[in-house]
């Protein structure tokens, strides 16, 4: 695949923007968490693009994928914690709409 790096990055940007929009606009907590996953994915694509850019014929640059693997690990962790919070929240209030979760006010 010899797609120019710009196009990969544009793809990542669009995915990221969609994730941002979902993060800010949706009221359902689960969807918000999924938007976060989307954003992380976009970051992964960016890493890949960079790694591909810096590779030469005989030597594949592996920094990208490795970072991306760690990002996936962290994403997993974060999703798990977020979902645990959702469950704990649900036990209390029966509903997971974001603007109703406002007991942390001051």
């Amino acid at each position: 695949m010899t797609v120019p790096t710009e196009h990969l990055l544009i793809l990542a940007g669009i995915l990221f923007t969609i994730g941002v929009a979902g993060f800010f606009l949706r009221r359902n907590l689960i969807v918000v968490l999924m938007s976060i996953e989307l954003m992380l994915n976009a970051a992964n694509v960016t890493f890949i693009a960079g790694s591909r850019q810096h590779s030469t014929a005989g030597d594949l640059n592996l920094d990208g994928p490795i970072f991306a693997i760690f990002v996936i690990a962290v994403a997993a962790v974060e999703a798990a914690v977020g979902l645990a919070l959702v469950i704990a929240l649900f036990r209390r209030r029966q509903l997971v709409m974001l603007d109703q979760v406002n007991e942390l006010s001051g």
Partner: protein, 180 residues
């Protein structure tokens, strides 16, 4: 041909992502995200990073999304007649305005940045490289990046403990009803 495939897949990924944030039913959102992940994974393959593609499918699509689905099902959020279905999808008012503005700004900023930078062309031989990327990855992972690796495992451990604490059922009179 690989290039053409890339463009098709990217369109697919974008549409799926849009589907994530635009679905009313959370289950649909999950499935859309799954689709998006698949497209991305194939893109990784095309770029020559097979191991990453495999991990993407296994972990991201196979574990994380399943977890999401699990929770959605557990809380019965997908029920079209349930309470969740009747809630408005988006925020209203000033928040929405600000959110859209930010998103657009981010997109524009990103596009401007990308289009203003010149990247050298990619050598087609890069993607065909087959000499044991997985082996090299392993050497790098357990050699140069062994510290982040161990840190990641500690992080996973901490998270596990944390989740168990967080999601623990409170044995107090306040608990309303019991759910499986």
């Amino acid at each position: 041909m690989a290039n053409a495939l890339f463009y098709i897949l990217s369109v697919g990924a974008i549409l799926a992502a849009a589907g994530v944030i635009a679905s009313r039913n959370p289950v649909m959102s999950v499935l859309s995200l799954l689709g998006s992940f698949f497209c991305i994974a194939v893109i990784y393959l095309l770029a020559g990073f097979q191991f990453l593609a495999a991990i993407q499918i296994l972990v991201y699509a196979g574990a994380i999304m399943v977890l999401f689905l699990f929770v959605v099902m557990l809380l019965n959020l997908g029920d079209p007649e349930g309470e969740a279905a009747r809630e408005p999808m988006f925020h209203h008012g000033r928040r929405a305005f600000l959110a859209m503005g930010t998103s657009v700004a981010i997109l524009v900023a990103g596009l401007v940045a990308v289009l203003n930078t010149s990247f050298p062309a990619i050598d087609p031989a890069v993607a065909e490289t087959g000499n044991d990327p997985v082996g090299q990855l392993a050497i790098a992972m357990f050699g140069r990046y062994s510290l982040p690796f161990e840190a990641a495992s500690v992080l996973l451990l901490a998270t596990t403990v944390g989740i168990m604490v967080l999601a623990k059922r409170q044995r107090t009179p306040r608990t309303q009803g019991e759910r499986a």
